[in-house]
Amino acid sequence: MDKIQNNKAWFLVLPVLVLVAFSAVIPLMTVVNYSVQDTFGNNVFFWEGLGWFQEVLTSKQVHSAFGRQLMFSGLILAIQIPLGILIALSMPKKGFWASVCLVLMALPLLIPWNVVGTIWQILGRADIGLLGYTLDALNINFNYSRNPVHAWIIVVTMDVWHWTSLVALLAYAGLQSIPQAYYQAAKIDQASRWKVFRYIELPKMQGVLLIAILLRFIDSFMIYTEPFVVTGGGPGTATSFLSIDLVKMALGQFDLGPAAAFSIMYFLVILLVSWVFYTVMTNLDKAEGR
C-alpha cells in the first residue's frame, strides 16, 4: 500500500492543541513571563532575567516555609500511612459491616476542604467548640491561635481526620486482593501474625501504598485551604506553608515576579517527586514481571 503524504492531516490535532494551550500552556507561560520581568504598574514590564529566582532561592522566608512544608508532609505521612494500614487490617473482610465501614470511611473524603477547615476551626475554639471547651474544662489551656504547637496539632489532626480514609481504603483494596491460599500457607508454615503482615500483606500492598504515599505527599505539599481557614498561617508564620506564603506574596503584596518564580520552582519540586515515584513504581512492576 502506498503511503500518502498529506500534511493537512496535522489540522486534525489542532483541536487538542488549542484545548491544551488554553488549559495549560498559556497560563503556565504567563507565569514564566512574569517570573523574568518586573513592573512598577501601568502594565509596563522590564526584563529582570533570573533575578527573581535568585531572590526566592536565597529568601529566608521561603526557606522556612519550605522547611515547615516538608515537616508537615513528613508528619502526616508518618501518621496516616501506618494508621491507614492499621484501620484497613481491622476492617471486616466481607458482609454487611464491611459495606458500613467502607461508607463511613469514605465520608470525610466527600467533605469540601473549606468545610473541613471550618469544622475544625470551630471544634478547637475554647468558647464554642466541643474539643476546645472540653480541653478547657480539663484545665488544659488549648489555644491554637496563640500557641504554635497547638496550631500544628490542630492542623495535623485535621489532615489526619480528612485523609487517613484514603490510605485505609487503598490499603483495604490491596488486602482484599490477596488470595486466601497465602494465609492458609502461612498457617501451615506456622507464621506469627507479625510475619504474616511482614511477608505477605505488606509486600502485596506495596503497589497501592506507593500510590497512597504519592497522593498524600502531593496533596499535603500543596495544602492551602484548611490551614488558611483554621489558622490563617499563624500564629506568626507557624503554619504558613508554601502555598499560603505564595498567595500572600502574589495576591497580598502583588509581587508578581517573585511569586511567579516561586510557583515555578514549587511546581518543579512536585514534578520531581512525582517522577521519582513513577520511576520507583515502574521499576517495581518490571521486577515483578521478571
Binding site: Y182, Q184, A185, K187, I188, D189, Y199, A287, E288
Partner: protein, 368 residues
Amino acid sequence: MAQITLDNLAHSYLPNPKGEDDYALKQLDHVWGDGEAYALLGASGCGKSTLLNIISGLLVPSRGRILFGDRDVTREDTVARNIAQVFQFPVVYDTMTVGDNLAFPLRNRGMDAGYIAARVQKIAAMIGMEEVLKRKARGLTADAKQKISLGRGMVREDVNAILFDEPLTVIDPHMKWELRTQLKALHNEFGHTMIYVTHDQTEALTFADKVVVMHDGRVVQLGTPEELFDTPEHTFVGYFIGSPGMNLIEAEVSGNIAHCAAHQVALGGNYKALSGRVQIGIRPEFVTLASGEEGLPVTIKRIEDVGRHQILRAEFEGKPVNAILPEGMAIPADANRLKFQPERICVYVDDWRVAPLHSVSTPEEEAV
C-alpha cells in the same frame, strides 16, 4: 507422626445444613495408617480439598472428630497439629530469597540455625534449586515457585503428615514425573504419612500405596490400585479409573446369568435376587471382539489407535461399549459381537457392587 482417624466426620459450608445435599462432605469413618502414602482421587468438587483442609486444621468440621493417634485434634489449630500442606497454586513469600522461603517453617518453629542451613541445602538439592538459593523468589516462573512450595512442605521432618492438594497442576510434564518420583523416594526415606489429592488417575496410581476414591462428598472406595481396577466397589470408581473406563450395561440378573435386553451374558458367580437398578460392569481390557452368534451384538463406531493398543468404540442398544484390542490386530469385516470374560464382570445395584454368593468355577477354566 501418627495414625489419622476420621470419626463420624461430616462438613457443610452452610451454617444450618438441612438434607444430605447440603453437605460437601458426607459421613466419613476412616483410619489413615501411620506412614502410608495415600492418593485422594476424585472429580473436581467432590470434597477432596474440603477433607484435606479439615485434616490440616484450616477448616473445622460441622460434625465428628479427627484424631492423631489417640489425641483429639478437632478443635486444635494448624500450628498445634504440625502438619505440612502444599496447595494447588504456588504460594511463595516474594520478598524473601528462595533459601529463606525454604527455611521459613523451620525458623518459625525456632530451630537451630545450623540444622536449618543443612536442611535447606538438602531440600534445595531435592527440588533442583541449589543454584538459586540466594535469589529473590519474586519473578520466578510458576513451576519454580511451586517447587519452592513443595520444598517448604517437605522441609520439616517432625510433621504428623504432609498433605498435597493437586500440587503438580502448574508443573511441566517432564518435571512432574521427576517430582513425583522424588516425593515417593522421600516417603520411603522418612515414612511420613502423605495424602496426595489429585484428579489425575495416573498420578494417583503411581504415587500411592492406597487410593481413596471420592465421589459426591463420599469415600466410595479405599484400596490398592489393583483392587480399584479389579473390583471397583462403585460404578464411579469403575468409569473414573481406567482409560477408557468400565463399560456399564443395564441388566437383569438371575443366578449366574445376566439378561441384557434380549441377550444373555454369563457371570462369574451366582447372585441372589436383586432389586433396584442393576448394571453389569466389565473393563474394556477384558472384552474381546468376535464374529458369529455368540456374545452381545454391537455396532462398531470407530477404532482409535493409541499406540500400545487399539480402542474399539461400539454401541450396544444405543449405549457405548468399549474394548481394548491388541496393537496391530486387524478387525475382521464380519466382527459384530463382543464377548466378556465372565469372572471379570462385576454386578452393581444402584451403583454399588454386589458380591456373588460363590464362584461358579475358577477363573482359569473360564478365561478363554
